[in-house]
């Protein structure tokens, strides 16, 4: 805990400071036309702040430094597709889940040898270490090549230096949509589901307030609307299959 | 207690008085026990083999090297080096009494000739710049370089550089002028111009201590000649005594080798 009440501090300042990457499309990025920060996570954060009755202020920070920023009180919460896992639960105050996503396997369009996780065994898969999809690929027996981000993973895939990359369906779909790239396809699902949450400092009383706000956004349909705007489907509920 | 008297003292016979001066660098004893006096307006020439300690004597007089023992008095300033520690103030007071002309001139390369001369008076002695410049131009006339005031050192010949070095030392109005082999780095044709300036200064009554191998200069200009060997003054006297009729074998050999290198 960071001493006093975070919620009180946010309320009295009238501002919720949100750490986000700003270079992670379609979740948190700059609109090329207006240069405004936008994206799914950005809008979710805004909606949460609205419910809390405060303004939102985004602090753009690279992923590597984003939790250092949270800990050193540069901002109050991280809204940037933070995936829930037990280690993180131990270190940070995590909200309830606001997005579910499925793992998918992306391959070259002309490669039909991989259709399921099982087929990854012994093959090369490019993974960003900061996502937990690396874990999934490794567990499936893939030879994991570490990369900085999704773009580099796709580049290696297209240069035939790896055979696949396991990632969030949302990320792959957005890539295909924004680049029109026909060289890459979704070859199969992993069957994993990951849960994205808002992170705050450990023990922060903001978690409860954010959870309440998220519940309200879910019930009044705001989250669903945002999801459909960015992904064409509702990813704010737990998938059934 | 160290003694540093800067108040006027009664007139004495000598301007410089050195006694029991000793100096070692690490284990290596360079000066053993040097005693000599310099009368005001006189020229003292120091000769001796390489490594005998000539430069160290001059540097001790100027306090560039701090002696280990002995006393040095120049004018009204006296420092007893046996009393430790010798303070910065004492060093500065002693140094201010004399001007030094180096073998390798050490002019400030980034300053013009005039700026070289005014650096001491203006930057260190805080004298008025205009006045210092006027005086500097006079000094340049004295050394025959009036028209070079705005040149940079690299634009001068070796002999001219050395003459600027002399003028720079004079510019701080020292009581005593020290010269360390001022002509030995010069082209033989240029030696004359520097020796002539020094001869003029002597004629004008400047007190000078000169290390040189120019035996002829010593013969013509010196009032006393000191022959140094192994950190000790082994002969002293008039030029005639020391140069023409040396008493020691060492001095005889040395003079012979300089005057007749081919024998």
């Amino acid at each position: 805990s960071s001493g006093g009440s975070d919620l009180q501090a946010v309320k009295s300042a009238g501002i919720l400071r949100v750490g986000t990457e700003g270079t992670y499309s379609p979740f948190s990025f700059h609109d090329p036309r207006t240069n405004q920060l936008t994206g799914y996570d950005v809008e979710v954060a805004k909606a949460v702040a609205d419910k809390l009755g405060v303004k939102v202020q985004y602090v753009e920070t690279p992923w590597d430094a984003i939790f250092a920023g949270l800990t050193s009180n540069r901002f109050d919460a991280v809204v940037n597709q933070v995936t829930k896992n037990p280690e993180r639960s131990g270190l940070y105050g995590l909200s309830s889940t606001y997005t579910w996503s499925e793992g998918v396997i992306a391959t070259r369009a002309d490669d039909s040898s991989i259709t399921s996780l099982g087929a990854l065994k012994g093959r090369k898969s490019a993974q960003s270490l900061t996502s937990n999809w690396a874990e999934v690929a490794k567990d499936a027996g893939a030879q994991v090549e570490s990369v900085e981000g999704f773009t580099q993973a796709i580049t290696l895939l297209k240069q035939s230096r790896v055979d696949a990359t396991v990632n969030d369906s949302l990320a792959v779909l957005d890539y295909q949509k924004s680049t029109g790239d026909q060289g890459v396809k979704i070859a199969g699902k992993t069957g994993d589901v990951s849960e994205q949450v808002v992170a705050t400092r450990k023990g922060s009383d903001l978690v409860a307030a954010i959870d309440k706000a998220l519940a309200q956004l879910k019930s009044d349909g705001t989250l669903k609307k945002l999801s459909e705007k960015y992904f064409g489907s509702d990813v704010t509920v737990k998938p059934t299959a | 207690m160290s003694q540093l008297s800067m108040s006027p003292t009664p007139a004495r016979d000598s301007l410089v008085s050195v006694s029991g001066l000793a100096k070692s660098f690490g284990d290596h004893t360079v000066l053993r026990s040097i005693d000599f006096e310099v009368a005001p307006g006189s020229v003292t020439v120091l000769i001796g083999p390489s490594g005998s300690g000539k430069t160290t004597v001059l540097r001790s007089l100027n306090a560039l090297d701090v002696a280990d023992a002995g006393r040095i008095r120049i004018g009204d300033v006296e420092v007893d080096f046996a009393d430790r520690p010798v303070t910065k103030k004492q060093v500065a007071a002693l140094r201010a009494q004399s001007g030094m002309v180096f073998q390798a001139h050490h002019l400030f390369p980034h300053l013009s000739v005039l700026e070289n001369l005014t650096a001491g008076p203006v930057l260190a002695q805080r004298r008025d710049r205009d006045e210092a410049e006027t005086e500097a131009r006079q000094l340049l006339r004295l050394v025959g370089l009036a028209e070079k005031a705005d040149a940079y050192p690299f634009q001068l010949s070796g002999g001219q550089q050395q003459r600027v070095g002399i003028a720079r030392a004079l510019a701080v109005r020292p009581k005593l002028m020290l010269f360390d082999e001022p002509t030995s780095a010069l082209d033989p044709e240029l030696v004359g111009e520097v020796l002539k300036v020094m001869k003029d200064l002597a004629a004008q009554g400047w007190t000078m201590v000169v290390v040189t191998h120019e035996i002829r200069f010593a013969q013509q200009v010196a009032d006393q000649v000191l022959f140094l060997d192994g950190g000790v003054i082994v002969e002293r006297g008039t030029p005639a005594e020391v140069l023409t009729h040396p008493g020691t074998e060492r001095a005889r050999q040395f003079l012979h080798r300089i005057l007749d290198p081919l024998d």
Binding site: G22, T23, Y24, S25, P26, F29, H30, D31, P32, N35, V59, E60, T61, P62, D64, A65, A68, G69, T71, S72, N73, R74, F150, T151, Q152, I154, T155, Y175, S178, T179 | N62, L64, A92, R95, A96, S98, G99, M100, F102, A104, H106, L107, F108, P109, H110, A119, G120, L123, A124, Q125, Y152, P153, F154, Q155, R168, A169, A171, V172
Partner: protein, 222 residues
């Protein structure tokens, strides 16, 4: 290169230029000038005969040169708040880069000072100058000649190192390139544009260096 990429690059030219002029260049210049001041102090400490003083300077230089700049930035921006000292991004970046330049340039300045012949110190002291005056009026002007080429290396490295400031929320050139690239995944193209900007800045600085060197050489024979 397809049309879309070309358009993206063209669109980015303006914003990247703005970031260069309003952020990368000021950050570089301010940090460098302050860094030189620190470096001079550290160099003089390192030359001190008092062992404790020169020891402190040694450790400072060793730590600064021995650890990644990124970490130095992180400690100042994310670490110091734990001790109750909090800086905004730009000042934090200036502090980190200043201290970094201070460590690197200290060694350059020290060796430049040592390259001035001892005779110059002695000549200055014979005409009555003290330590400070000699340093300021005699030694440093001459040391500058030796120091300019390696210092310009430090400066040129700094230009590129300022890109690390993006990690502590300073919106400089590389950050703007990343922002422009994110929606379209064209990181490669936009990094290329950024590289050209960096190169142009470095070229301009190299010309500046040549000019300075020529000026410094006016008092030595050709």
């Amino acid at each position: 290169m397809n049309e879309q990429t070309t358009q993206l690059i063209l669109d980015s030219l303006g914003p990247l230029l703005r970031a260069t002029v309003t952020s990368t260049i000021p950050l570089t210049i301010i940090s460098f000038v302050l860094g030189l001041v620190v470096a001079l102090g550290v160099a003089l400490m390192r030359l001190s005969k008092v062992r404790v003083v020169s020891g402190i300077a040694r450790v400072y230089i060793s730590v600064i040169r021995g650890t990644p700049l990124l970490l130095q930035l992180f400690i100042i921006f994310y670490g110091l708040p734990a001790l109750g000292v909090q800086f905004d991004p730009f000042p934090a970046a200036v502090i980190a880069f200043t201290l970094n330049v201070g460590g690197y340039a200290a060694e350059v300045i020290r060796s430049a000072i040592l390259s001035v012949p001892k005779g110059q110190w002695e000549a200055a002291s014979t005409v009555g100058m003290g330590y400070a005056t000699t340093l300021r009026r005699v030694v440093l002007p001459q040391a500058a000649r030796t120091a300019i080429p390696p210092l310009s290396n430090t400066l040129i490295s700094l230009v590129k190192d300022t890109s690390l400031a993006s990690t502590i929320q300073v919106t400089e050139l590389l950050r703007v390139a990343q922002e422009a690239a994110a929606p379209t995944y064209q990181f490669f193209a936009l990094y290329g544009v950024a590289a050209v900007y960096y190169w142009v800045v470095c070229l301009a600085l190299s010309f500046g260096q040549s000019g300075l060197e020529r000026r410094q050489n006016r008092y030595v024979a050709a």
